[in-house]
Symmetry: C2
Subunit: 323 residues, 2 copies
């Protein structure tokens, strides 16, 4: 008997992630039936990864499974929501069981880490395309919307910025990055959604976004939706050694400011919460850096270490822009 | 300025469908924030359409927008759920605004008809692929699961079966279908999700499925999950004149039994609800036919007009089966 869609879905997907009590009916019916806790709002986000656009054809399928879920969990973190359920629409050119097993392993390991259950799937034949939709819960009063930044609020970012961009640059331009190559590649292929940071700090923040299109573009979204501007202290932007070196060599800030794929969080925090936030920093699994402040006048100003403005041109990643 | 992803999403998608009060935050943030009514369970389903697999490259984009949503609303109907929200992951080879406008028109017209709001979208570049996820509400005690059919229950189907299959056959085999071609093509391109039938009859039914892979395959899913079998009276299967003619010519029942894409409902109804159901039939916008009965022994038996068994070989549509 040839491998059929139904058997395939059954074998790989029906046990993916954890089993949750709020899933009344999972994969295998016309719909999944799901119970949102009382007083909580459903947070929903969807992201698609396409071969040749978001990843290279030779990507490790295990890291691809991880990343497809990670970029979505990152959206939940940016909203201050607790992850719960996920659906997966997988379009495959053919059935390659080795590939599928590795993909599901990467997906499932991350799902288990965040107590997420796969509740719906659709497998179709076609060019490799992965659409993942996550569902989480958030107290609506605590949701980290993009439209709630106010002048005077502080701008924090998690981790270091530009690492994934440098790895991508290394790959596309054949740049030799030496020994850090593996670490940078890890940052590109295995992004870590900042769910823990979000859960620890969400009651102190007023707004947030995850940095998928570059800090300037993503902070720009917050500014636009909130009707504000921002000032960034470039020397405070957290950088890994390879990115620092690249900036020194090229005199360009485009990697930490405009490269996507880091999936770090940009958190906007009212100044009166700064002390409380700093008290909680030791409990975080990743560094968090104060990089600037929200201002009332529109636009994003970048300052150097003397406080002088630096002109930054490049925006973030845009699928349909001529490149 | 080149058409950018952000502007594109804004222009076409932010006002798609209706505006609902239970959408606290729609498109334009990291997540949508959605409020499920108290006492109701969230029903979720996802379906992907791929060019060259689910539709022809020359398909009318307006009908494609309609169908992408319709096949998902059909899943909600099959669960007895009221439609509420939808997300759309659209992968496009390029930006063609005429195409997009027509696609969104087909999608939005159907969304408005069923009071559905688009709450999330992701537009990426790549081979044309459309993933739609619908969200609806259902009282968990009223949900039409596949695992609740019992021996003695009656099997009903809506509309007529095999029309979409005949249209497809006409197209792929260059069959001349004469005057009914347009009507059959309409059935293939503009399927009507049976939301109204589901809402009117769901309290009388014990189980349901929508017929997307053919009656035998889909009824087979119900039988398998419920641990039962079924008997089908072939002369009772509702047929349009062209399909009736095709069966007479070919002596094959494969169109109404095994062709997909009709998106009619198969409803399983306890015998004691038959009288009440028949009282409600005049209020339905589509015919409903009693075609068989659930049995305790496994397998699906097909009987002819003398009550003699007919051997039916073909199963339903399967994306990865050798064809």
């Amino acid at each position: 008997m040839p491998a059929s869609e139904f058997l395939l879905i059954d074998r790989y997907f029906s046990q993916l992630g954890v089993k949750r009590a709020d899933v009344l009916l999972g994969i295998g019916d016309d719909c999944a039936l799901l119970q949102v806790p009382e007083g909580q709002t459903l947070a929903v986000s969807i992201d698609t990864l396409v071969e040749g656009v978001h990843f290279f054809p030779d990507v490790d399928p295990e890291s691809l499974g991880h990343k497809a879920l990670a970029v979505n969990l990152s959206d939940l973190a940016a909203m201050g929501a607790d992850p719960a359920w996920v659906t997966l629409a997988l379009t495959l050119p053919q059935i390659d069981e080795t590939w599928l097993e590795a993909f599901c392993c990467g997906f499932s390991t991350l799902a288990k880490r965040h107590r997420v259950q796969l509740v719906g799937g659709d497998t179709t034949r076609g060019p490799l395309t992965i659409s993942v939709q996550v569902h989480g819960f958030v107290d609506p009063a605590m949701a980290l919307r993009r439209d709630s930044a106010r002048p005077g609020d502080l701008i924090y970012v998690t981790g270091t910025l530009g690492d994934a961009g440098l790895a991508l640059l290394g790959k596309t331009e054949g740049l030799s990055l030496g020994e850090p190559q593996a670490t940078l590649q890890q940052r590109l292929d295995w992004p870590e959604p900042r769910v823990g940071v979000s859960q620890t700090l969400r009651d102190l923040a007023s707004a947030a976004i995850d940095i998928s299109d570059g800090l300037l573009a993503d902070l720009g979204h917050i500014c636009q939706r909130s009707g504000v501007g921002a000032m960034l202290n470039l020397p405070e932007i957290p950088l890994s050694d390879p990115v620092k070196k690249h900036i020194q060599q090229t005199q360009k800030w485009s990697l930490p400011l405009s490269a996507g794929d880091d999936y770090e969080l940009c958190l906007i925090v009212p100044a009166e919460n700064q002390a409380e936030l700093e008290e909680r920093v030791p409990g975080l699994d990743v560094r968090i850096s104060l990089v600037g402040q929200i201002e009332s006048s529109s636009g994003i100003r970048c300052l150097d270490d003397t406080g002088a403005p630096i002109d930054i041109q490049s925006g973030g990643y845009d699928h349909f822009r001529d490149r």
